[in-house]
């Protein structure tokens, strides 16, 4: 017999009757996020990086493509080149800023595309259940079984180098992961009584999904996807490192790591800088995702 008093952690009804109606759910999430110092700091850093990337043509001190064999591998703090120069004498600071454009694009765009495609597939499979669910999820499992790096390299290699190809490859890598999370959350939501009540209203399946299910599913999937951005950036940098993806002389952090590899013994600090940028960006996305997840927790 189902328990008459629901939930193992009873909250006295008396406590749940405030006199003032609170603001909407998303607004309260934003409010809670504002009060989280770590999340706010990360958001600020990311904002700074994005702004720098957008305003790159105006704020770079030097031409990122101008090479000079005389000025090779200048150390950090050299006059005129605050972060030194790379192995072809190009100003590192400018290259990092321009590199941010490509790296951020290659990190965010595939995740956004995968979010849209993956959520659609996952929600439909989760809600419809039965055979459709089985067919869709087992197909996705085939892709999911491969390690992301291997899959990205394989698809990218098959399609050839170039930015748009690697964007596509990365999207394909992340669709199964997001679809899985979406399907799992949708399956849990679909079992609840309010979905039954919605079915009893005579609404069609798509209407129920659109109005009742999506609002409850998008949140957790969004948090998961935000956490994927850092993985995607690293994968994209990895692809460029391997020669798939962005090609020289473009500035991209992963590519820069590759070409500066030989300079590690001469000027390790300069060689590590693109890695530091990748690290900072990934950490900030991860911590921000964590903060959003805590802010979304209604029970706090």
């Amino acid at each position: 017999m189902t328990s008459i008093v629901s939930s193992a952690v009873p909250m006295p009804d008396a406590v749940l009757a405030p006199q003032v109606a609170s603001a909407g759910y998303w607004r309260s999430v934003l409010q809670r996020l504002h009060r989280d110092p770590v999340a706010m700091a990360c958001a600020a850093i990311l904002l700074l990086l994005v702004l720098a990337a957008l305003l790159a043509p105006w704020i770079t001190p030097a031409d990122p493509f101008k090479a000079s064999m005389l000025k090779r591998l200048l150390p950090v703090g050299s006059s005129g080149h605050w972060l030194g120069t790379d192995e072809l004498g190009r100003d590192l600071l400018s290259r990092l800023i321009y590199g941010g454009r490509l790296s951020l694009t290659m990190g965010i765009v595939p995740v956004v595309l995968a979010f849209v495609i993956g959520t659609s597939i996952g929600v439909l499979a989760g809600f419809l259940g039965g055979k459709i669910n089985m067919v869709v999820m087992r197909t996705l499992d085939v892709f999911y079984a491969f390690p992301s790096v291997l899959l990205a390299v394989a698809i990218s290699g098959a399609m050839g180098p170039g930015m748009s190809n690697s964007l596509l490859a990365l999207t394909i890598v992340f669709v199964p992961q997001i679809a899985r999370v979406a399907e799992s959350v949708t399956t849990q939501v679909a079992k609840l009584d309010y979905i039954d009540a919605a079915r009893m209203s005579g609404a069609g399946t798509l209407a129920i999904i659109r109005v009742q299910v999506l609002g409850n599913v998008l949140g957790p999937v969004f948090v998961y996807a935000t956490g994927l951005i850092s993985v995607c950036m690293i994968l994209a940098s990895g692809l460029s490192f391997l020669g798939l993806g962005v090609r020289p002389p473009e500035a991209e952090w992963g590519l820069m790591l590759n070409t500066l590899r030989s300079a590690i013994f001469n000027n390790p600090l300069v060689a590590a800088l693109p890695g530091v940028m990748i690290f900072i960006t990934s950490i900030c996305f991860n911590l921000l995702a964590d903060g959003i997840r805590s802010a979304m927790d209604l029970r706090r």
Binding site: D193, M200, G202, A203, G215
Partner: protein
């Protein structure tokens, strides 16, 4: 909360949502359930010799008359909640049919599922799980009408009028979320939502079970008022025999997926014919400290509906069981009283049970 003052705005007429007209008159039952069967297979493993099944509902038939409140009582495993879901078409039966005011439902011709949904609504036990945590009360209530074509503004007005009717001031409650309401308030919203489509039949599946007693009394009063006001018919599923006696006109007792007794409430409570019903009635704790219960009427737990016993399913726990109870399943019958039926060999003449009345043979 002080007694609510009704809004002076009357319920606005909804051009598209009108309660379906009565067909067939007062004699025709509003709902006829015939031979419903639902078994859930038990996954015993690939190489299991016999496939076991949970006999949740086994050949259940009953009628619900227009304007009455039918109570369905029973313990865990009796199948009352499954029956409710089968009637609501949230689950499809393995076999059996439904007639709503004379019309077959869905695959039996007559009424489309959408139309049926407008005529029959359900209020669930868990008031919190029944409400979408991301939607305001107003949105929740107007969802149904909007899906049936009612305009947005009109649906909103209607939702507010319904909130007011169930005792929640719209100015205060329309924009709230479920976690900001108490259990009683949430259940009122569920009732308002059920009424939004102007149904004729309302299934209340343990709707007041999870509420505090004082709140329960308020909600029961509300249900009675709404029933008289809007000419509704109720199916009230509950385990609380006192509430069933208070609210219902007829009572149906279920055990292990079958109907064991059905009849008018006064007769069931004063002269029950099935030993299980009698045991259930005497299991209610006494309210008089001078006359406490000394012996439990039944021992053991309600059995598992997986592979029920042969013959009468109650014979394992029945103090009057005999050989005939194991070999033949008793049928629902009324001994001369067509309104009060029981499925027990002891009450059927000529069944072979030692306590059965003698068969009258007219020459």
């Amino acid at each position: 909360m002080p007694p609510y003052e009704r809004l002076l705005i009357p319920m606005p007429p909804v051009t598209q949502l009108v309660r379906s007209p009565d067909r067939g008159g007062p004699v025709q039952p509003l709902l006829s359930v015939r031979n419903l069967v639902k078994h859930f297979p038990v996954r015993d493993g690939f190489l299991a010799r016999t496939k076991r099944a949970v006999h949740a509902v086994d050949d259940v038939s009953f009628d619900v008359a227009k304007g009455e409140t039918l109570g369905i009582v029973g313990e865990s495993g009796c199948g009352k909640s499954t029956t409710a879901r089968l009637i609501a078409r949230l689950m499809l039966p393995d076999s059996g049919g439904l007639l709503f005011d004379g019309d077959g439902v869905d695959e039996f011709g007559g009424m489309s599922l959408q139309e049926y949904r407008r005529n029959l609504q359900m209020v669930f036990q868990d008031s919190f799980a029944s409400l979408n945590p991301r939607m305001t009360m107003e949105d929740t209530i107007s969802f149904g009408p909007r899906e049936h074509g009612v305009g947005r503004q009109q649906a909103r007005t209607r939702a507010r009028a319904l909130l007011d009717r169930v005792g929640l001031r719209p100015a205060q409650f329309a924009q709230r979320y479920p976690h900001e309401l108490s259990g009683g308030q949430r259940q009122r919203v569920n009732i308002a939502r059920a009424l939004a489509l102007e149904p004729r039949l309302l299934i209340l599946d343990e709707a007041v079970a999870a509420l505090d007693k004082s709140v329960q009394a308020q909600v029961l009063n509300l249900l009675q008022e709404l029933k008289t006001e809007q000419g509704l018919t109720y199916i009230f599923i509950s385990h609380d025999l006192h509430v069933v006696q208070y609210l219902c006109d007829r009572v149906m007792v279920m055990y292990l997926g079958q109907v064991v007794e059905v009849g008018p409430v006064a007769q069931i409570y004063s002269a029950a014919r099935h030993p299980y019903t009698r045991a259930l009635l005497s299991a209610v704790p006494s309210m008089d400290p001078a006359r406490r219960t000394s012996k439990p009427p039944l021992s053991g737990d309600p059995p598992n509906p997986i592979n029920p016993p042969s013959g009468c399913r109650f014979r394992d726990r029945c103090p009057h069981a005999e050989a005939v109870c194991a070999s033949a399943a008793p049928l629902l019958h009324g001994q001369g009283n067509a309104a009060h039926l029981a499925a027990c060999h002891m009450t059927m003449a000529g069944s072979g049970h030692s306590a059965a009345p003698a068969l009258e043979i007219h020459v």
